[in-house]
Symmetry: C2
Subunit: 443 residues, 2 copies
């Protein structure tokens, strides 16, 4: 801060920083954000998904429900309002959509296809790919019991990635089933609830620990049957998994055929980068069937980009009938990193196409009227009617990446002849009348 | 709650209500919301305004700054985060945009045209036109000192109303100037700061109290010169105001010529419903010049729909150079009421154009592939691949307002002949192949 500035504000000047872990979106940032949201919208709407929305503020009890117990922890933004109500800035959208659907359970016709791009909050240390506030596309399909729901929802995810310009080898879709894991832990290994819980946690960490460390922990937890556990989790494909389950456990594992069916169908639909991953656990909260996660194949983005799965039991906390559901949540921060890594982000270009600069000072009604005509023909026009010099006006248009500029004075209006300057090349084009300008700029 | 439902949830079922004073947006509501936001975006972008955004969570000190002292009161949602920082859910957007511009004061080229449609929070009793959370288009033009800024900003407001389909006689733009009021109170009436403050409050309440009550209070406050005060505030036009100020105060009032200029220019630009209103005070916070408010002419919506004005001094709290600014904020709740009152809201129509229903059970890859082809040609297709009967599938499409439905089975795919049923009329059209369907639905 300079002394001169200090004089203007006798008190300590306010900080211009946003709150920690959230983002300011300057027009250039918003351009990227709108590009990402636009691709998401266009892909999901082509599948018939309808947008819904809700407030970021929810009663805290929504997150205390049985199904979401783990969410209300030290990562939520919870507080009391002035009426002593416990409220929370939503950390995820699923409880909200479930609440909304439960409220109109009887009126709504299935299949229900809804999407939203809410902002979500969690209190944690900001780091690459994780911020305190992020936006997350939520895509949910309610009311389809059969595997067609999973086929569609994974297809939607792939369609969005395609819309972003991502190639098949730039990301991978890992798929597993909670049915398989539950059957393995409960029926084959016959673990009690506590051990099954710990085994699930161990599966979740498998890829992050050395092989022998994993074996030691598996042996400790599971005992004599741990070789089955280890062997099955090392399966490299569905067929390999089936073979191992017959070899090691003399048993078919429930859920495997369904998963095989899904992967087979996805391949037939041209989705070639979906693979079986028996170690994919995806949390403990509300999934009941197929789960999937999408990963960047570039090692710079090791976290899951996004994921989802089937959750058939969530509505029960509202006392309404069950409703099968499959969905996913795709965060903007991870996707932004992905697109940046693979050079898939477009170059900044404002929607403003033409700067009309007035000549001279004061009010120039003719310039306003002229701009107005161009606007009704779909050309976005910014007027520079400041009292500055011509050079400064051009400079400002250049800095704002406005592609074309023209000066309008009495001479131009009388002769209906306008010189349009293309700022990137410096080239000039003479246009006769508005229509000529409109045609030139739109071409 | 029925007993049957109670069985599903042993605990008290969760409420499906949203938090008090905020809204759930079901797809039909979101359709209206997107219509409103779409009209706003399209109008402001045609004037070269660029979208920006920021988090709803801001440091509380942002609202404690001198310029915004009145905002941090018992109407804000303020709390401490887990790191003991004071944070607030933004009650308005102006402090945020000012913060963002101050942060890049030297890099940004003027004129800066930015817009955003943030959600804002205020803790108050929900009532018609006022909710605890609402969305508000914010349009701000920074860096233009002369009256061209006001001309443009009021033009933008009128362009949005036109985009909504509003006619000139359905709303009125009341315009005044803080310069006029300040000059009247400080220079003509020579009131001290406290009395000037009270007089401003009295002006603000003038239209809400009986004439004689207003006179009594004006006499009490201002004394012998109160006839000047009353006379000027009763002026019915700019010319009348000028005449009265010469008659009563033997003085030209500062700011009047500028305002006359603005109204005159607006008229020349085809904005015929802008009028001078000497009683328009529009709060006390940061306005420094022209202020305006837009009112519905229908008495059912007596509150101001929206308003704005010039605020040239806001950046100083950040210790940066001054920057002239004119802007306005247009809330969605008031606009929604306005559009409803004047029958300007469109009928609900989902983007989904066609429901493709599978025949029989299980996975139908051909139906998925078929839908996929239509989607690549821009037709939004929802598949109904549930195991339900044909009649139920049609019923669901009708309830979801999907205009067309077709059934796809082996026969249809083999013959490439598809019967497209229009659900509103019940009419059927035979299409041969995908292109025929695409052409039919797009026409």
């Amino acid at each position: 801060m300079t002394d001169e500035n200090a004089k203007q504000s006798p008190n300590q000047p306010l900080s211009t920083e946003p709150y920690k872990g959230v983002r300011d979106f300057y027009p250039e940032d918003m351009f990227v954000q709108n590009h990402i949201f636009g691709a998401m919208r266009s892909a999901v709407e082509s599948f018939g998904f309808l947008e819904y929305g809700a407030s970021i503020l929810e009663p805290t009890e929504l997150y205390k429900a049985k199904s979401g117990e783990e969410i209300v922890n030290d990562q939520t933004y919870s507080f009391k309002d002035r009426g002593d109500r416990d409220v929370t800035l939503r950390p995820e959208m699923t409880p909200t959509i479930t609440r909304m659907i439960a409220a109109r359970r009887r009126e709504l016709s299935t299949p229900i296809r809804w999407y939203s791009i809410p902002n979500l909050f969690r209190y944690e240390k900001p780091q690459r790919g994780r911020l305190r506030e992020h936006f997350q596309l939520n895509v949910d399909l309610f009311g389809v019991e059969n595997i067609n729901a999973e086929i569609e929802v994974v297809s939607v995810a792939a369609a969005i990635m395609k819309k972003f310009g991502a190639k098949d080898d730039q990301y991978i879709i890992r798929v597993n089933s909670r049915k398989i894991l539950n059957y393995l832990l409960n029926e084959v290994l016959k673990l009690d609830t506590e051990k099954a819980y710990k085994a699930m946690k161990l599966i979740d960490r498998k890829d992050k620990m050395p092989k022998d460390e994993f074996k030691t922990q598996a042996d400790d937890l599971i005992g004599s049957k741990s070789h089955i556990f280890i062997s099955l989790l090392n399966a490299t494909s569905i067929d390999d998994f089936k073979k191992r389950s017959m070899d090691e456990a003399s048993s078919d594992i429930m859920g495997v055929e369904e998963l095989a069916n899904l992967l087979d169908t996805l391949k037939k639909l041209g989705i070639n980068n979906a693979i079986f991953d028996p170690t994919l656990a995806r949390g403990f909260d509300y999934y009941t069937g197929i789960v999937f996660e999408v990963y960047d194949t570039d090692a710079r983005n090791p976290r899951a980009l996004f994921g989802g799965g089937r959750f058939d039991d969530l509505l029960s906390v509202f006392g309404t009938d069950k409703l099968p559901a499959v969905g996913f949540g795709m965060g903007d921060v991870g996707i932004n990193n992905f697109l940046e890594t693979h050079n898939l982000l477009p170059e900044y270009a404002p929607k403003t196409k033409l700067a009309i600069c007035t000549i001279g000072q004061g009010i120039d009604i003719a310039a306003f009227e002229f701009a107005s005509k161009l606007r009704t023909h779909g050309v976005s026009v910014a007027i520079d009617a400041t009292d500055r010099k011509a050079g400064q006006k051009i400079q400002a248009a250049v800095k704002q990446s406005i592609p074309y500029v023209t000066f309008i004075g009495e001479k131009e209006l009388a002769s209906k002849t306008f010189t349009i300057k293309e700022l990137e090349t410096g080239g000039e084009t003479i246009c006769s009348g508005e229509q000529d300008i409109i045609d030139f700029i739109k071409k």
